[in-house]
Every structure is written in C-alpha cells, then in structure tokens.
C-alpha cells in the first residue's frame, strides 16, 4: 500500500479538473467533465482495491464502468437533436 499512496494522491488530484469541468460551461463541456470524472474514478477505485489488497472491492469499478457508459450515452441522447 505504501508504494501506491503517492500515485493514489495524484489520481485524486486528477479528479479536480473533472469537477471544475462539470461545474461550468455548456452542456457538452459538462458532459466531457462527467466522462473524465467517471474514468478517473474507475481507475482510482482500481488502485484502492489493489492498495488495500481486497480483491472483492473490484466489483465497484466493474459496475461503475458499465453504468458510466450507459449514463453518459443517455445524456448524449437527451441533449441531441429532437426528431
């Protein structure tokens, strides 16, 4: 765990630009921030599971990567052109 702590802290720092992006700009810019946040969150959870040595925690990023894909696709559909 100790060797991964600086990497984990840097990854948490990678979440900050995503939070800034989702809080300003138009809808598409916010959507980009949402995707950045979800991707970085998946990798952070992956590193957390590895750092704690608890492989059962891996179910969380596994579910998140599928739900983030579906959720972001729904947002692109809702923000798109109406038929």
């Amino acid at each position: 765990m100790t060797g991964l702590v600086p990497a984990f802290v840097l990854m948490i720092g990678g979440l900050v630009p995503g939070l800034v992006l989702v809080s300003r700009g138009d809808a598409v810019a916010r959507l980009i921030g949402l995707q950045l946040l979800s991707c970085v969150a998946v990798l952070v959870l992956l590193l957390l599971a590895q750092g704690f040595g608890q492989s059962q925690y891996l179910i969380v990023p596994l579910v998140l990567v599928v739900l983030a894909f579906a959720g972001t696709l729904v947002f692109t559909r809702l923000l798109g052109r109406r038929p």
């Binding site: 060797g3 950045l36 891996l58 983030a68």
Partner: protein, 96 residues
Amino acid sequence: MTVLGGVLIWFGVLVVVVSAVAALVLPAVHPRLHALTPVTSLAGPLIGAGVAVLNGFSLTTATVLLIVVLLAITGPALTTAMARLAGEREQEAGRG
C-alpha cells in the same frame, strides 16, 4: 516484477494527470475530447497491466483486465457520441 508493476502504474497515473489538466486548459470541445482519450486508451491499460504484473495469474488479474478492457472499449464510443453531439449543436447554432 514489483518494480515493473510500480513503474507501469506510475506511468498510467501521470498520463491521467496530464490528460485531466489538458482537458481543463484547452478552450474548445473537440480539443478537450482529444485530451480525454488517453485516459481510457492509454492510462487504463497501463494501470491494468501494472496491477496484473503485481498480482500475477489470478482471478483478481482477470477482473482487473476485464475492467480495463471495458474502459478501453466504451471510452472511444462515448467520445464519438459526444463529438457527434457537439457537431449537431454547432450546426444548429450556425443555422440560428
């Protein structure tokens, strides 16, 4: 092997940080999408490979690789969908 796994994870983390900062700094939608792509296509596989090297052949490694492959597959699909959405909105704005 521990050193190799750590180095791979560190490279992945650096790619994530640089891409996140680039997505924040770049001004328009399409360059931001370009900055976002390395997170899913490069950093994910690097971190997954690092974790796989650290764990060796096991069910944990298989799960990690599944997560990373899903991330690498879904990332470009989402980027394409968002680029198409941005193009549509720009066209509508151009028509007034």
